[in-house]
């Protein structure tokens, strides 16, 4: 018995810890802006961020070996980027794309809200950019660096209008980067070098995506944010904190792999910046890196780079090229699928964190999206799809609820047996079995049918959680964004009182839909037979309240789904119970008539 209690205590503590953690994570306040750093950067505008620590080895990892120039220079020249979905510019100093806005997405629901900025300059608050370059494997060839001013031909960069960046190192080598853009989010970069000198040179071309700021992550257990990629056919997801600890052990390299095809980059909940070889049969070496430029966590630098597995030796008169792609945009399921199929990018759709239940989550999403296109409202699509899933499980659930209703009718007899044979559990068991036999009922449908349903409903939940298609989609009434928490709050009487309690504590945010969900959960539980164990029964009474608080600040689409799912279960169970009672009455009546 003591052991049982001990385990119960352990289980409870685990439960409490989990609940607390989810709570904490969902409610972490956004990091305040870092004024000191910004100040430092604005006072020394021309000085690049310090180098990424140790100089890159000769065989060459792309690093930041740029020396700070002695004198301030004029601002860098830029070439505009434009297509129907993005706007921005190429920074000709350093050959970077460090200015990219997704023009079809806005930060918030406000009509004049700024468009979502994915890539940003090094002197901004969220430096995030893509860059192409070379490492001199022979240690003497002059290669372009962060301070190199490239010459552009063509432009602006638009679909069908490539831009060529050229730089002559003055020692006989001419470097070229040809950038082209499609109508969505894909940039293709072709890096060429021609050796017009008299000596052979050895160069290692690379492409990278670099993030010089740790983004605020949503921090949910069921959502990956950080390094991601499919390398060697395997999904390789590494969180920022794991990359940091792994990098600390291995000289800044959190992961390194030589693969053919594939892709790698950084993922946020909805956005992705990733690089990949342009040809699926090209072999490149990919690395996930972390470096720290000092200043604690603010100095964390993150990088995904791809380079040729070995440097290329260029005889005089020879030339070489490497072609890569950069995807920088929103993770729309259909778009990623189309790139995956058109450009042969292995498992590119896995940039969306569908998780272990990919085989369920993705079809669910596609079905939801299809209904959404039919109905025009994502909330309605959720409701309809949930009904369809419920209907598919109805035969199983019907059986389950049937027996549950009967078990409830048997409960008094069962407790009677338990009372009578308190001291003889063996006898109680056999009596119970006898009772089932005489009533010709097994009290339950079994654990298996219920357990099968869990992954299915989890998959639906996950589909709603991870996909951008639900973002900024309205529902009825006060829900204007299904992917954001319900803004109403019970504690200020839904806006009647002129204050916002959630500003003091997130425990004080209790939206209307969460309350509705709590009530549906409570009712549903009342329809189930209570657990035999009194302690468990007590805890179960608290479950709806605990869950309501725990899920209160989840995206409202999920809460609505949950409440609707409960409501359907209640309706189903209520219907079956009534049906059962009517059937029992009818049976009694015919029995008497005989």
């Amino acid at each position: 018995m003591d052991q049982k209690r001990l385990f119960a205590a352990i289980a409870l503590s685990i439960g409490i810890l989990l609940i607390f953690d989810v709570w904490n994570r969902t409610n972490t306040p956004p990091t305040p802006p870092r004024p000191q750093q910004q100040q430092a950067q604005t006072t020394t505008p021309a000085v690049p961020a310090p180098s990424a620590g140790t100089p890159a080895p000769a065989t060459g990892a792309p690093g930041d070996q740029a020396a700070a120039p002695a004198t301030p220079r004029p601002p860098a020249a830029r070439v505009a980027i434009e297509n129907p979905r993005v706007a921005g510019s190429i920074n000709l100093r350093g050959a970077r794309i460090d200015d990219l806005v997704l023009t079809t997405y806005r930060e918030t629901l406000a009509p004049n809200s700024p468009q979502v900025r994915l890539l940003d300059r090094r002197d901004s608050l969220n430096p995030y950019f893509a860059q192409w370059g070379w490492t001199a494997a022979d240690g003497r060839t002059r290669v372009p660096d962060n301070e190199t001013d490239w010459t552009a031909t063509g432009g602006p960069l638009a679909p069908g209008r490539p831009v060529t960046l050229t730089w002559d190192n003055g020692q006989g080598q001419v470097f070229e980067i040809v950038l082209s853009l499609d109508a969505e989010y894909m940039v293709t970069a072709e890096q060429r070098v021609r050796n017009d000198g008299s000596e052979p040179v050895s160069l290692l071309p690379w492409a990278r995506v670099r993030r010089e700021h740790t983004p605020q992550t949503a921090g949910f257990y069921i959502l990956h944010e950080g390094f991601t990629g499919v390398l060697g056919g395997r999904l390789r997801e590494v969180t920022y904190s794991d990359a940091k600890s792994e990098g600390a052990r291995r000289g800044g390299i959190a992961m390194e792999q030589e693969t053919t095809g594939g892709w790698a980059g950084f993922t946020d909940k909805y956005w992705l910046a990733a690089i990949m070889p342009a040809a699926p049969d090209q072999t490149l070496r990919t690395a996930y890196r972390h470096a720290n430029d000092g200043g604690g966590a603010a100095g964390d630098r993150w990088q995904v780079d791809m380079a040729l597995p070995a440097p290329v030796s260029l005889a005089p008169g020879a030339s070489t090229q490497m072609a890569t792609r950069l995807f920088a945009g929103a993770k729309e399921v259909h778009l990623l699928d189309s790139y995956m199929n058109r450009l042969n990018i292995t498992d590119f759709d896995k940039a969306i964190d569908f998780g272990w239940f990919y085989f369920l989550v993705k079809p669910f999403f596609l079905a939801l999206d299809w209904i959404f296109r039919l109905t025009g409202n994502f909330g309605v699509a959720i409701l309809i799809f949930t009904v369809l899933i419920k209907a598919a499980f109805f035969p199983l659930a019907n059986k389950a609820y049937h027996s549950m209703a009967r078990m409830k009718a048997l409960a008094p007899k069962m407790t009677e047996i338990k009372e009578r044979y308190k001291d003889d559990p063996q006898k109680a068991q056999s009596e119970m079995m006898a009772l089932y036999r005489t009533e010709k009922v097994n009290p339950a449908s079994g654990c298996l049918p219920i357990l099968i349903q869990i992954p299915v409903f989890f998959a639906l939940y996950k589909a709603l959680f991870v996909t951008i298609e639900m973002r900024h989609q309205p529902f009825f009434g006060w829900i204007h964004d299904l992917s954001a928490p319900d803004p109403t709050n019970l504690f200020n009487l839904f806006g009647l009182l002129p204050f916002q309690p959630e500003q003091w504590s997130h425990f004080l945010h209790m939206p209307a839909w969460a309350v509705i969900m709590g009530i549906t959960m409570f009712v549903q539980q009342k329809l189930n037979p209570p657990p035999p164990d009194p302690i468990q029964a007590k805890i179960f009474q608290w479950m709806p309240i605990i869950f309501t608080f725990m899920l209160a600040s989840m995206p409202s689409g999920l809460i609505i789904y949950w409440a609707w799912n409960n409501t359907l279960s209640i309706g189903q169970q209520y219907y079956i119970m009534r049906h059962d009672r009517a059937a029992a009455k009818a049976a009694k009546a015919t029995g008497k008539a005989k």
Binding site: F7, A11, L12, I14, G15, L448, P531, M543
Partner: protein, 79 residues
């Protein structure tokens, strides 16, 4: 009892105090699947206990008559 077995038992207990409250108890057997799992893990260890519990859950469906189904006692080691 081995450490994995203790951990697995902890998981079963955690399930009983959390998820079971949400999805309801539906077992067709006596002892119930979670009781069975706890007992099997204690008596047969983590690997065999897990396997036995998994088989029990697979049995626990509407097409199986259910009823009294205790954990078989461990066979004494040979020799």
């Amino acid at each position: 009892m081995s450490a994995p077995a203790v951990m697995l038992k902890g998981c079963v207990h955690a399930y009983r105090y959390t998820l079971r409250g949400v999805i309801g108890a539906n077992c067709r057997f006596y002892p119930s699947c979670s009781d069975y799992a706890l007992e099997a893990l204690s008596a047969h260890g983590a690997a065999r206990g897990s396997l036995m519990s998994a088989k029990r859950i697979l049995r626990c469906n509407p097409w199986h008559p259910g009823g009294y189904d205790p954990v078989p006692p461990p066979t004494p080691p040979k020799g």
